[in-house]
Symmetry: C2
Subunit: 440 residues, 2 copies
């Protein structure tokens, strides 16, 4: 597991140049620590350990004292992720700065879906992140990266993206007053190009695949051309990734400060799943929720299921795959956090499962017609996997279960377009309507 990560990161620049790192105030964040060897580093735009090349993550001094007082403070906070500012790497005055204020999305009690899946009504919930400003969970992570970029004095924000992240970065940068310059494969769908360009930042199409875009960005970070640039998912990644913790916080608070029994979370890089687990553990440590067992289930598309394959084979390394699935926002063939996901699924008694593209489409439509939620393909993956986990007995249908929808169906219309058409096309006459057989 370590060997693989080293190989992956060894070719990338570890330390990047920031304009200034003086007087960094990122609230409760006290430094960065290596997830592999535990080495500590000062807060800065770095992302891999100088000693072992392990990934760095944010270390905190979390609020001590009465959990009830902290709970009240949070509940009195704004209806967005900043209600959890005391638990995030952001300055205490974060709400005074211009940003998109994502989060506090709906936790929908999904009784109709529960009945369709054979889950006890009242026990199934969908955390619907399509309600975020640019309609995906990416707004949560970008919001953290923006605050880190401010703290480090960056004035240009960047990322490599297949579209969704580019839009989230473009929008957040526009409002926060950063220049943005983001990189995408040049042949993306028109809709994603427009979404990434409309916020007025620079958008660069790279002649090549997403892997080529990624490689190019890694080169750029190490080059003077990229000096002073904050790449949200590279040199700002430790901060960026923390945004996913807010999903854990919100789910528990929305359940009445209670841990769910089971969570079904999509896996792309695996970062979201690992950070949700981190968030749940923090809530337990802080005494904000009762400490009791929960199971975390990871969800992949069959066409890009390296973590699911490893889980099922009992491996603790993840063999990279070449993605081929309609769930493009999850199509990372070599997921950086894959081994950690395996650890968490096994430790909590969960599992990692996958569904094929047909099942993804069926699940998108099932969620739409039961709950009125139009999910992107990643949401089809989690709902489809939930169905499969109930069928194969791995998920207990009598326990509280939260399924994540991380994006919006409007962004992946193609997935359902063929099978979502008019029931009938008729002349505007009552006779024609009668003949169509649709009257009560």
């Amino acid at each position: 597991m370590r060997k693989m990560r080293r190989k992956g990161l060894a070719s990338m620049a570890v330390q990047t140049v920031a304009p200034t790192t003086n007087a960094v105030d990122l609230g409760p964040a006290t430094g960065l620590s290596c997830r592999e060897c535990g080495e500590r580093f000062a807060l800065g735009p770095i992302f891999a350990c100088e000693l072992c090349f392990g990934p760095l993550e944010v270390a905190y001094e979390l609020p001590a004292g009465d959990p009830e007082a902290l709970r009240k403070q949070i509940e009195a906070g704004p209806a967005n992720i900043w209600r959890y500012a005391p638990l995030l790497p952001v300055p205490a005055d974060v709400t005074q700065k211009p940003n998109l204020n994502p989060g506090w999305t709906k936790l929908v009690q999904a009784d109709n879906l529960a009945r369709a899946l054979g889950v006890e009504p009242g026990k199934l919930f969908v955390k619907d992140d399509s309600g975020n400003p640019t309609h995906s969970f990416k707004d949560r992570v970008v919001a953290q990266a923006i605050e880190a970029a401010r703290a480090f004095g960056f004035t240009t924000l960047s990322c490599s993206s297949t579209g969704n992240l580019a839009g989230a970065v473009g929008a957040a940068a526009a409002r926060a007053g950063f220049r943005s310059c983001v990189f995408i494969p040049h042949d993306l769908e028109q809709g994603k190009v427009v979404m990434a360009a409309v916020y007025g930042g620079d958008l660069v199409g790279i002649e090549g695949t997403y892997d080529d875009v990624n490689r190019f960005c890694s080169e750029l970070i190490g080059d003077p051309l990229g000096e002073g640039w904050g790449f949200v998912n590279v040199n700002l990644r430790p901060y960026y990734a923390e945004g996913s913790k807010t999903l854990a916080y919100e789910i528990c608070e929305q359940l009445g400060w209670r841990l769910p029994d089971q969570l079904v979370i999509p896996i792309a890089s695996g970062s979201q799943l690992t950070k949700i687990d981190k968030g749940l553990q923090e809530l337990i440590k802080l005494g904000l929720v009762e400490d009791r067992p929960y199971k975390i289930f990871g969800a992949q598309a069959e066409g890009c299921s390296p973590v699911s394959a490893a889980f099922k084979a009992g491996h603790d390394v993840v063999r990279p795959q070449k993605p081929n699935t309609i769930a493009k926002s999850l199509a990372i063939g070599n997921p950086a956090d894959g081994p950690y996901v395996l650890d968490i699924a096994r430790r909590t008694g969960g599992a990692v499962e996958d569904v094929n593209d047909e099942q993804v489409v069926d699940a998108i439509k099932l969620l739409a017609r039961t709950e009125g939620i139009f999910a992107e393909t990643a949401g089809g993956v989690t709902v489809g996997v939930t169905k499969k986990l109930v069928e194969n007995g791995l998920l207990d249908p009598s326990l509280t279960t939260v399924v994540l929808n991380t994006g919006d169906g409007l962004k992946t219309l193609d997935a359902v377009a063929d099978t979502s058409q008019a029931t009938a096309v008729i002349r505007p006459s009552l006779d024609a309507f009668r003949d169509a057989g649709l009257a009560n």
Copy 2:
């Protein structure tokens, strides 16, 4: 003005058949009253006065007593429109019923946009309704119609639509457990067809224009084929329309229980603008906000500007137009509430203005690059009109102004697609990037 409305409605069925109207509980709603002659009717699925064919609207017995207690009750309510249940035609237990729970969308302090428009920073706000479940304000009005449909015992929901409303009805019906059958022109853009079909209800394409669809629906309401159907924007319209009041409530509460000085509101049928005014008046009457003057400005696209034309000509009747604009969600050439809009704009000292399609596109992009909000064309209309009103001196740039964005740019991508493209397309090499001239 009356003559025109009579002519418009005389050809439509006034009373429609509901399965049952016993024991109607719609909370504080006590009946319907004719907006023209004041005649009162019992709550039911009717929409035009039997005496004068005037439009009916909901009459209330609003909560009496201490405003502070009501304010506290509202503030303790859910983060959606149901916090205002005591002021809406819905039963008190509305939150116990499955619905999409729209509303409580962001009121964004738009300092960057303010600077761009020459408005005093801190004084300009965008009420961004793209955060609703199906990403338009339609979720607010459909949510009211759903509760009325429940009260009247309807089991099928319907509407005529150019797309957005069809999606909102499909989604809300799916979650609330209604059958839906909605009507659209058969040649709509693919995306809108998919959005309207994905929720699993019946979707009927009508061979003809939106006007043909409307005429067909009017026929269907009067025919046994449509018996027992609730058409949200026809026989449930009095209830449906009340949903727009929640925009007024939220804006004032989000401003700290204060009236804005100026509002810029898009005009399609004009219903939204008139109901926002109604909502503001209710807040004043209830003592929830201080009674002081506010100005209401209506915004139209030049290619469909019958109300703006009437306002500028000093008329109190609205001459129908044949719409030709990219702002399709506002393209109602014969707006039913046009005369009331004229009354309100004149009474409050506001105005009605219009912008051309090029200005709409420029305004969409201005809002995106200043605030990170990607609006649909209707949002381009309101922002563009705000710009024009500042320039022509009708809007005071030193006063608190709220501009509505009622929908999402993802639904009208075509408007900005031509001009929102990659800045550069390059090979994945540092040399190529240097040559593109985009480095800092």
